[in-house]
């Protein structure tokens, strides 16, 4: 697809929106009342690697599915989840995508074709295969995009899923966000290969190595991968190298990361790189950037305040929805056999 000025500006807007939203999550975490916290649990931010999520999600079309990883706020936004829905999720409100049954980034949305987040690293890869197998079964011209981290790539289920997708030539693009650290464990303690994309050869599939801080590169390679899998040439393993510019969660100051490593990557901040490209290639000024920041900031402020006003879930709804029919008592009762 042609890189029009509008598209470039849209990519940048999503990068800024993601960063602004997550910065707000971080400041709420820092400032909230510990006895009555607005955010339940912690914040899991994608600072430094927004380009992967935003760029890759732009390769999705309406019928495609997304199976997200830990740091895919950008993809949720691109897919149409609103900032207010995200804050409602962070605040565990009844109106949230999981009705307050899960917190922070642990959500999905069937209507928007986003698989519910799976915290067990790498498991989304095997479910992505199932969605892709079903697309193939139905003859639908769609694909599944799934992302996970370098840490997840050590899990057996990821290897099984890559092999499985390769055997059946499933339309899946597996993206590894290689952000340098699995919580605190650096990549050299996770695997001995230089590039995770090199593993693709072992499965008999295509591997692509991409600069994960370059949103345009991620977008273009994701499109290429999409065309490849839709042409029936089998899945693609795409490694995006980046750096997590924060701790694993808002509770983690990332003291285990050498300072010079952070400083080196700060110069390659994806927002900075994209802004430079916009200024260089199209009519984009500092003034336009400030205007954008203000607009996005207003949007995010309104979103979190509206979400904060929503009610929390009711204790009496605890047992609804364990099964499609309701809870186990309902299921038993339907079978004329409730004892209590």
């Amino acid at each position: 697809m042609e890189l029009t000025p509008d598209l470039l500006k849209t990519l940048y807007r999503y990068l800024v929106t993601t960063r602004t939203l997550e910065n707000r999550v971080a400041t709420i975490c820092q400032s909230q009342n510990a006895n009555d916290p607005l955010i339940v649990g912690k914040g899991y931010l994608s600072a430094g690697q927004e380009a992967i999520s935003v760029g890759a999600a732009h390769a999705l079309r309406q019928g495609d599915w997304l199976a997200v990883g830990h740091r895919d706020m950008g993809a949720h936004l691109v897919r149409g989840i609103t900032p207010q829905e995200i804050f409602a999720q962070y605040f565990c409100r009844a109106t949230s995508l999981t009705q307050g049954r899960d917190e922070n980034i642990h959500f999905g949305c069937t209507d928007k074709k986003i698989l519910g987040f799976i915290s067990h690293m790498g498991a989304s890869a095997c479910v992505a295969n199932g969605l892709a197998a079903a697309m193939k079964y139905r003859g639908d011209p769609n694909f599944v995009l799934t992302t996970f981290g370098d840490g997840a790539s050590s899990q057996g289920i990821v290897h099984e899923s890559l092999n499985y997708a390769a055997v059946f030539k499933l339309p899946v693009v597996f993206i590894i966000n290689n952000n340098g650290y699995a919580i605190s464990t650096p990549v050299q303690e996770q695997f001995a290969v230089k590039n995770l994309a090199d593993r693709a050869a072992g499965y008999g599939i295509s591997g692509i190595l991409v600069d994960g801080n370059d949103v345009v590169a991620v977008y273009q390679n994701a499109l290429k991968a999409r065309d490849h899998v839709l042409a029936g040439k089998g899945p693609v393993l795409m490694e995006c190298k980046t750096m997590r510019m924060c701790g694993h969660g808002t509770h983690d100051s990332a003291g285990y990361v050498p300072r010079d490593e952070i400083e080196a990557w700060e110069k390659r901040d994806p927002l900075l790189l994209m802004k430079e490209q916009l200024v260089k290639e199209i009519d984009f000024t500092e003034e336009a950037d400030k205007k954008l920041s203000l607009e996005v900031n207003e949007l995010i402020e309104a979103a979190w305040q509206a979400a904060a006003k929503a009610s929390g879930p009711r204790a009496e709804d605890l047992l609804t929805g364990v099964y499609t029919e309701g809870n186990l008592s309902d299921v038993n009762f339907r079978g004329r056999s409730r004892m209590l």
Binding site: R101, G108, A123, A134, Y164, L328, R336
Partner: protein
């Protein structure tokens, strides 16, 4: 009606479900041309072709993953785990994804996982365990353990229609040892209903799966001593037919829980507690459990026989309860 084995009835159910609904498809290790290691899917590949009957890599986690994704997409996948013992390598997708998906994400997963389960075939610990207690502990899963060919067919058809993840635990020792007349056409036996296999008035023997036959045998022996045993086949563990148990206990006032799985931490212990909590006033004697011994499943016939519940063990329990 036609005479079918337990295994044949399951195969019939798969043929029937696949003929009735294009969204139903079957996959697992060696299920295509080979027909599965127990021959249960034999003939399906020839009839429905490679799209709907497919071999998979030896990857239980990936198989369960396919079932979840396909169900979410709207298909009705029926996955086979070659031996229920092998589910250990797929616990994360099953427990962490499938079981709580509806609760957290408000989307149904109409998938069925067929798992040949249980022992008595001299094939050792990796191929003989009864693991239902693990899954009984998990909200969101349904568990079916049929004991007869008719139940196997009717309940598999009901499981395939069910909107939630269903574990269909087939008792592999029954595959070719049990036969009965079964309807040839499509029929469902709804999940959640126990079956009173034999009426009695002195004691209720609650059991399921391969132990139903053993329980019947023991009850016949007991009747020679003038003890009238009511035998209840639970048929599904989740949902559990609590009302049938309560009604029976109100009549007999005594109960024994019998299952093939090891006694410790088994389903029988939980059902016994449930009955104590809910039928306290009806009980004339403490409840007893009979299950397998607490050791890995051994292969040598003498050892496996000693490990498994037996008619003698059940009779000893009946004797103890009746003498209380």
């Amino acid at each position: 009606m036609v005479e079918m084995t337990y295994g044949g009835a399951i195969r019939q159910a798969l043929f029937t479900a696949m003929a009735a609904d294009d969204d139903v498809y079957v996959f697992g290790e060696d299920v295509a041309k080979f027909g599965g290691v127990f021959g249960i899917t034999k003939g399906l590949y020839e009839k429905f072709g490679p799209k709907r009957v497919k071999n998979t890599p030896l990857s239980e986690g990936a198989i369960i993953g396919e079932a979840i994704g396909a169900a979410l997409y709207g298909l009705k996948p029926v996955a086979e785990i070659q031996f229920s013992d092998f589910i250990t390598t797929a616990m994360s997708p099953l427990i962490d994804v499938a079981a709580n998906y509806h609760y957290r994400n408000n989307a149904s997963l109409p998938l069925v996982i067929r798992m040949p389960s249980g022992g008595g075939m001299r094939i050792g610990n990796f191929h003989s365990k009864c693991l239902e207690a693990w899954f009984y502990h998990v909200p969101g899963l349904k568990i079916v353990v049929p004991s007869t060919p008719r139940d196997a067919k009717g309940m598999l058809l009901a499981a395939i229609k069910d909107p939630d993840p269903v574990l269909f635990l087939e008792q592999k020792k029954l595959y070719y040892t049990v036969k009965e007349e079964v309807e040839e056409e499509y029929f469902e036996i709804p999940l959640g209903f126990a079956r009173t296999v034999r009426a009695g008035s002195d004691l209720t023997l609650v059991t399921y799966g391969a132990m139903v036959g053993l329980g019947l045998e023991a009850s016949q022996e007991a009747s020679k001593q003038g003890i009238s045993v009511e035998v209840i086949d639970l048929r599904t563990l989740t949902p559990l037919d609590e009302a049938t148990l309560k009604t029976s206990l109100a009549k007999t006032h005594r109960a024994i829980l019998l299952h093939e799985a090891v006694k410790r931490g088994g389903v029988g212990g939980d059902i016994a507690s449930l009955l104590m909590e809910n039928c306290f006033e009806d009980l004339a004697a403490p409840l007893l459990r009979v299950g397998a011994e607490f050791c890995p499943v051994p292969a040598a016939p003498a050892l496996e026989d000693a490990y498994l519940p037996s008619v003698e063990k059940v009779l000893a329990a009946i004797d103890r309860v009746m003498k209380y």
